[in-house]
């Protein structure tokens, strides 16, 4: 469903960014020849510490960024050549992508539904279903600015699913969510998986990954250093659990560098 081949992303840094990040080089390799495949009906995890390049990879899959080298195909569509076809098929969610607080949940849902070319009738049906599932129904006519963080987060998830995408990309899905909302979200991801959809999540919390993901790719310093199912990774890197295995990988990688 998603095929990432030799994906490399290089950022040019401005002088200000160079001082901020305390580097002397004008270019920064956020992703370096990353390749992996993710198949339908699974939850695929991109794991790694902050700044490893996970978000860059996810944004490039979502066509927000263009690869410097390598290719990314989403259901057979190249992200550079057919970005619209790709966008039609994915739902993308991160904390940095926000909804205008001035509007109501109901209006926001409808607006994005229309932009995805969904008919009014289907928008209404999906809204009923998703708003009920995430308990948004009772505040659907309030301004988003009046909602709590958790409520806004739930709405953002609902909105990202308005076009019933085949692939759902979720950057740090449970970050900043309260325990109950986080549970609702992970449960819904399981349900989407059972519908045969592909879910890609990124996280640096290994317990979340272990519970949620079928297979994972571990990214450190922009490079993919391991890939496989959870049990394959634990076995290969001799960990008690995923977190233990991750630290073994991390140590090995740091030594190599």
């Amino acid at each position: 469903m998603i095929k990432v081949s030799n994906f490399t992303k290089v950022y040019k840094l401005s002088k200000k960014q160079m001082t901020e990040q305390k580097v002397t080089s004008k270019i920064k390799k956020a992703a370096d020849k990353v390749s992996f495949n993710a198949k339908e009906g699974e939850i695929f995890g991109l794991l790694g510490p902050n700044g490893a390049g996970k978000t860059t990879i996810l944004r490039s899959i979502a066509t927000l960024l263009k690869p410097t080298e390598g290719t990314i195909e989403v259901m057979g569509h190249d992200v550079v050549k057919e970005p619209k076809e790709v966008r039609r098929r994915i739902g993308f969610l991160t904390n940095e992508i926000k909804l205008d607080k001035h509007f109501t949940p109901k209006y926001t849902f409808k607006f994005f539904g229309k932009l995805y070319g969904v008919s009014d009738k289907i928008i209404d049906e999906r809204r009923e279903k998703l708003f009920n599932y995430f308990d948004i129904k009772s505040f659907e006519d309030k301004k988003i600015s009046e909602l709590s963080t958790g409520m806004t987060q739930k709405l953002a998830i609902a909105v990202s699913l308005v076009h019933d995408p085949e692939i759902i990309i979720f950057d740090e899905p449970t970050n900043g969510l309260d325990i109950i909302t986080a549970r609702a979200v992970t449960n819904y991801l399981e349900e989407l998986k059972s519908q045969g959809k592909l879910i890609i999540v990124s996280t640096h919390i290994m317990t979340v990954a272990e519970k949620l993901c079928d297979s994972v790719a571990i990214i450190i310093d922009g490079k993919k250093v391991a890939e496989g199912t959870i049990s394959e990774i634990i076995n290969e890197y001799k960990g008690k659990d995923l977190e233990h295995a991750f630290f073994n990988i991390y140590e090995k990688h740091v030594k190599e560098v």
Binding site: L64, L65, R87, F92, I97, K98, L99, F112, L115, Y116
Partner: protein, 426 residues
């Protein structure tokens, strides 16, 4: 899709009380209040000067002048009764005093302050002693002299002095000459405009148009830009800052459509904002005509515009709005934050102001190349439409040039929308 985006943008603006107040209500209200207040004050001031009865101190007045003043005041009183509210002739109250040669020399050599010692007075007229005698003996004696003193810092005084010199003393001279030559007809070779009361040649509305054409293009341009500026920054730079732009860019809608939707809705907002302000100016016209058109009665009817003129005006305004909105959008896309956009936009606002002010004082014919100058060309065109001077070729050049600029701006905005560096600050 375009319509969906434009609708959302307009909904965003018009359901936000803060934006509506700051972009539509406040500018219109302040223009109305300011113009009405200033117009009334300027109007009152000139009325007050017209109605003021000048206090004139006359030193060593000859008998003939006293007679003349008496006649003058009688005539003024009669006119005042006849004309009622329309009456605006010079009125005076004369005070006669006598002084010796020495006192007069002292006054002539002194600072104005000493004149004040004469008491509260607007103008002092000092006649040479034995004035009447000198006038009568004109064949053998040198002409006598009249000295006048006034205070240029005082409105009443400086207004009275010109009336006294050009009206009163000239009248007095004629009065004396009439006595001397027994009638004035032998002394004049011709008269000017004596039966031609209406000596103004202008196309209907042109006079009022000229008055308005001084201020209007400038005001209109500044209003259009200012109206679009605040909201424009919010619509694009604000969306980037709040992270709501990325959500929009994730949808399968063309970036070009998103960009165009933003520009279009901002254009609509700018026109509505300018219309509000324009409405406020029209509403303040009855009070502000003194200030805007130098006393010419101005109302929207006084322009005498035909449909063609309105269409030209509208087209040029829309083109100007296009350029403004294009510039504002482009800057907002490039800027990383609302604050940064505000900083970048200030110099452009300055350019708009300078372009607008620069056209106020041009009186000669506008050369063709000037219509090609971005922004300024449109201001010239608006000015020329208001005075009925814009030819179709000039109109075509202005609109054509603007269309090219708008095209380039749209292209640049779309490029910026496609550029991940500007969109995601990477």
């Amino acid at each position: 899709m375009l319509l969906v985006i434009v609708k959302k943008e307009l909904k965003r603006v018009f359901t936000d009380k803060r934006l509506v107040f700051s972009s539509f209500v406040l500018p219109a209200l302040s223009i109305f209040l300011l113009y009405s207040l200033m117009g009334n004050m300027i109007g009152n001031m000139s009325n007050e000067i017209d109605e003021h009865i000048a206090l004139v101190t006359i030193v060593n007045s000859p008998e003939s002048f006293k007679d003349y003043i008496e006649l003058y005041i009688d005539q003024i009183d009669r006119l005042k009764k006849e004309q009622g509210a329309d009456f605006n002739d010079f009125q005076l109250e004369a005070r006669y005093i006598d002084m010796t040669e020495n006192e007069i020399t002292n006054i002539k050599n002194s600072e104005t302050g000493d004149l004040v010692k004469l008491g509260k007075t607007d103008v002092v007229i000092i006649f040479d002693q034995s004035f009447d005698k000198s006038v009568e003996g004109y064949e053998t004696i040198q002409h006598p002299n009249v000295n006048t003193f006034y205070n240029p810092g005082e409105e009443y005084s400086s207004s009275a002095i010109s009336r006294i010199e050009y009206q009163l003393l000239t009248g007095y001279q004629n009065f004396l000459l009439e006595k001397r030559f027994d009638g004035l007809s032998t002394l004049s070779a011709f008269t000017v405009n004596i039966e031609n009361q209406n000596n103004i040649i202008a196309k209907e509305g042109q006079a009022a148009g000229l008055g308005m054409s001084f201020m209007m293009p400038m005001l209109l341009n500044i209003m259009l830009f200012a109206g679009a500026m605040g909201i424009g920054i919010d619509v694009i730079a604000g969306e980037k800052e709040r992270g709501t732009m990325a959500t929009l860019l994730l949808t399968p809608v063309d970036r070009k459509t998103i960009a165009f939707g933003k520009v279009l809705s901002l254009g609509i907002v700018a026109v509505i904002s300018a219309t509000c302000t324009f409405g406020a100016i029209i509403a303040s016209l009855p009070n502000a005509s003194e200030m805007l058109a130098g006393g010419t009665e101005v109302s929207i009817d006084s322009f005498g515009f035909a449909i063609g003129d309105y269409l030209m005006l509208l087209t040029v305004i829309i083109m100007q709005v296009g350029i403004f909105v294009g510039l504002i959008c482009l800057i907002s896309v490039i800027a990383k934050s609302v604050k940064e956009a505000g900083t970048y936009i200030s110099p452009i606002y300055m350019v708009v102001m300078i372009s607008a002010f620069g056209t106020i004082f041009t009186t000669q014919d506008v050369q063709m190349y000037k219509f090609m100058i971005p922004i300024m060309g449109n201001v010239f065109a608006i000015k020329e439409i208001l005075t009925f001077d814009l030819s179709l070729v000039e109109f075509g050049v202005t609109v054509g040039m603007s269309a090219v600029i708008i095209g380039v701006l749209l292209k640049l905005i779309t490029m910026a929308f496609n550029n991940e560096r500007t969109m995601f600050n990477t």
